[in-house]
Structure formats: C-alpha cells, structure tokens
C-alpha cells in the first residue's frame, strides 16, 4: 500500500487569490528517494508543507481533496506524533534554528532530547552527525551567530540527528559551495541505503539525477510529471516548463540532433561516458 496518497488535492493559502497546489494526485512509497524539481514559485515548498502535515495543521487556508499518510486522513492526524515520524528540513535555515540553545552541540541535541533518546546516545549521535556534516569545529559556537551556509548545515544536522524514517528536505544546499553540496548528497545517499524514505527538493539536477529513484516535477501548482528518473528526463518538452536538464541529457540531445542516436537518454556523467564509449566502438 502506498505510504502517502494524494487525491485531487487543491490548497489555497489564507488570503491568497489563487491556489498554490491544484488538483494534485500521486502516491509515494516507503523506502524510495524522490527528487522534486520545477520552476520557482511552482509549489514545491507548499508540497513539502503538505507532506509534513503543516498544511492544514499550521497553515490554515483552504484544503480540498483527500490525502492519507500511512493510511490516516491528513486532517485527523496527530501532528505531535507526525513530528516524531517525519523529519523536515526547511528551505530557509534561518527559521530552523530554535534560538533557545546556546551552542550548536545543544542545538543538534534538541530534537533528540524531545524524543527522549538516552543522554549517552545523544552525545554520541551529535558527534557522529557533526563529523558527517563536517561541522565539528562549530559545535561550541552560538547557533545565532553563524553564517548562512553554516546555519544550513546545522539545521540539516539537527533534523538528520533525529533519525526519523522519513525525511522531507527542501533545498538543503542553496547556501553551500560545491564541496558542502557534495557532502550533503553523500549523507542523503547514506540515508537512502538505510531504507529511509526521502523527499528532496533540489535545483542541482545533475546530482538529483544521479541519486534519486524517482522525479516529481511541479509547476504552477500541478504535478507535471512523475516517474523513473530516466523516463521523466527523456521528455524534453519539460524544458519549456522551467525544468533544468542534466548536462549528460543535454549533451545526448545535442548529439542526437546531429544524427547520433542513443538507445536511451543518459542522465548521469558515468552513463553518458558509457554510452559514448559504446557508440564510438
């Protein structure tokens, strides 16, 4: 059975004239990694708010249609329990810092304290996560005095540390350099290998194409495409809907226009190299 199920969901923020999500239907399965892409202001963040139950429990507005998480109707779900099951990393890391803790160490520990994790485990876990995200040297700093990129890493670490089964992650690398981005993706890949369910909004399509199982394309509040990464990225008409394509796919497209045919569209660098090699033989 599908883990999250949306049927004809339309949602309008309070006071907004137009719906932010229109007639969305889809099913998400446990243990899969979904990459969410699409133009700016298309509704990706709103989609995340919905998956995490913030809509309709924090953001009022008008919600139509049906939706269930783990078989439970979203309107009747207990958000306090949901908060222990779905980790949510916000698009804006500035709003994710609690502001009530004096060191980054305690900031990362906060979620685990609330979950009742034993103290020794918390200490162990904070150190482990900090090393993974490469912020060991920030642990004793004041979370309110960090740069944008540092905050983004701390916010990421704070939620990952809670070790929920599902993670909704909204543009976690927007403030990071290529190295920082790479290490975030390595961690997400690790989570995937632990059979976590991941919903990741990310513009860096080359990385998404490499790691995700499925893509969900959102534009103007609608789901424009959903499916296997290769299948979605072989539909170049999405380019006109603000979807960026991976370098590999663009290269193969340019080559096929020149008469070189590929059996299917490569989406990662290694696939591309492989196909070129075969072609050149």
């Amino acid at each position: 059975m599908a883990f999250i199920k949306l049927k004809n969901i339309t949602y309008t923020y309070p006071l907004a004239k137009e719906p932010a999500l229109r007639n969305m239907s889809c099913e998400l399965e446990r243990g899969k990694f979904y990459g969410v892409i699409g133009e700016n202001a298309g509704g990706k963040t709103t989609f995340c708010n919905l998956l995490r139950g913030l809509i309709p429990h924090f953001y009022r507005g008008e919600l139509e249609g049906e939706m269930t998480i783990d078989g439970q109707e979203i309107r009747n779900i207990d958000v306090d329990i949901l908060s222990t099951q779905i980790g949510y990393i916000f698009q804006n890391p500035f709003t994710q810092i609690s502001g009530v803790k004096k060191t980054v160490f305690e900031e990362i520990a906060l979620g685990m304290e609330n979950l009742g994790v034993p103290k020794e485990e918390i200490i162990q876990q904070v150190i482990e996560i900090a090393e993974l995200v490469k912020i060991e040297d920030l642990l004793q700093k004041d979370p309110n005095q960090l740069s944008g990129g540092q905050r983004q890493k701390v916010a990421f670490a704070s939620i990952i540390a809670m070790d929920t089964d599902v993670f909704v992650i909204d543009e976690p690398t927007s403030q990071l350099d290529p190295q920082g981005t790479e290490s975030i993706f390595e961690i997400i890949d690790k989570l995937k290998k632990q059979a976590k369910t991941i919903i990741l909004v990310e513009h860096k399509i080359d990385l998404v194409a490499e790691y995700a199982d499925e893509l969900i394309v959102i534009g103007q509040g609608e789901i424009l495409a959903k499916g296997d990464v290769h299948q979605v990225l072989s539909d170049f008409s999405l380019q006109t809907r603000g979807v960026m394509f991976p370098q590999a796919a663009l290269l193969s497209k340019a080559l096929s226009e020149k008469g070189f045919d590929f059996p299917n569209i490569p989406v990662t660098k290694s696939e591309c190299i492989q196909m070129l090699k075969e072609r050149m033989r």
């Binding site: 709003t95 502001g99 939620i159």
Partner: protein, 264 residues
Amino acid sequence: MDYGFIEKYNQPWTSGNPIRDLNPLSKLNLMIVLGLSPFVVQNYVYGFGMALLFIIISILAGCFRSFFSLYWKVLLLFGFFLFLVKAAFSPGEHVIFQIWGIRVTYESIFSGLNIVSLVLAFSGAFILFVKTTPMDEFTYMLEQKGVSHVVSFIILSSFQTITDLGQNAKIIMESQKARGIETEGNVFQRAKAYLPVIGPLILNAISSTEEKSIAMDARAFSAPVKHTYLMELPKPSIKEKIIVLGLDIIFVLLLIGRIVLWLL
C-alpha cells in the same frame, strides 16, 4: 578534533562562582524576597541600601558590567524622573521653594526618595536575577518542578525575541543612518528616526514567533514521550537552603509586622 568539552554534559553544570551557581529557583526566591522587602520596610535608606547591595552582589558574581549597563538606564530613566515629578508635585506642608505652580516640600522630597528607592530595589533585584541566571537553566528547573515544557518554551522564546528585537533595531538604525537619517542628537531627532521603524519591528517579531513554533514542531517539541535533559544542575546545598529559608522567614515576619502596625 578535541571533544573534551562534552565532559560538561556528564556532570552537573557549574561556573565556579558561588553566586551564579545558586540554584535558579533559590535565585528567583531571593529576588522576590529582597526585591519586595523595601515595600514592607518602607524606609528609603533601606531601599537604597538594597540597591547598593545588588550592585555589590553583581561585582561578586562577576557580572557587574552587564548588570550595570542596564541598571543605570533604569536609574536615570525611572529613578531620576520619578523623583523630579514626585518632588515637584506631591503635597506637603514645609515648603522649600515654589515656582510656577511647582511646590517642593520636605514631604514631597521624602515621598520622591521613597518611591525611587522602591523602584530601584525591585528593578535591581530583577535585573540581577536575569543577569546571573541563564534562562535555559531557569526553565530546566521549572520543568523539574513539573511546569510544562510549553511554558518553558514561551519563557525562552520571549527572551530570545527581546534579544532579537534589540539586534534588529540596531540593524535598522544603522541602515537609517546610512540613508542619511539623523539617528543621534536630541530627543526629537532620535524619535523621528525611531518611530517609523517600530511598526515593522513588531510585525517582524510576531511573524518570527509563528516561524519559531513551526521550527520547534520540526524538533518534535510536543512529542508525547518523556524528554531527556542534556543539562543537569547541582542540587542546592543545605547551607543554601537554610539561607533562603531564613530570609523567607524574616520577610514573612516583616510582612506580618507591617500588617499588624497598619491594623493598630
């Protein structure tokens, strides 16, 4: 990487300063008793004595700078103005001098001194409490006594909001200055620079509390399980308990005495 600092989490938190290391609830208790005692004693010499005592305690607690940087503003703003108003307008028999409807008398001066000593003593106690008690330690103790997690979040985030307000105000004033608006000079010039930014500041604070409650939800703040505490505070010593209790008893006796005198 040296993780020596995590040792802190395996033992009760102390700073090494005996005043700061008093239990937060002892400090709260002392603040109330010492801060309110001048209202019972009703003698301005005692009230000013208390204010002086708080200054001395702040020195002993090693927080004189942060304490006094706030306290002198209270001294000046409330203490001084209140005294002037009281001295100029309170009724009295023995006139010292009189000009344009202002009538300064012995009685009005004493009444001014009285009220100022009360304000100074109580605000001194309060500021001293805030400056010697980290708010997270205070709310931790409250939770240990059974106060709800939600209440402690409200206390913590209100203090955070006040800090943020101050910081945002500073940022806005700097940008006002950069735009060539006079932010220094006399009271009117300052007011002209400050007034237009108060609205946005407050709106900002309100919307940030909403964001904060979502942020706390993301940390499973209301998870229906027993929370863990990374923090641990030392148990108050017998000596500490005796001192606090002794002062409480003296305060109650003073209060009874005052009521009896008042009834007679």
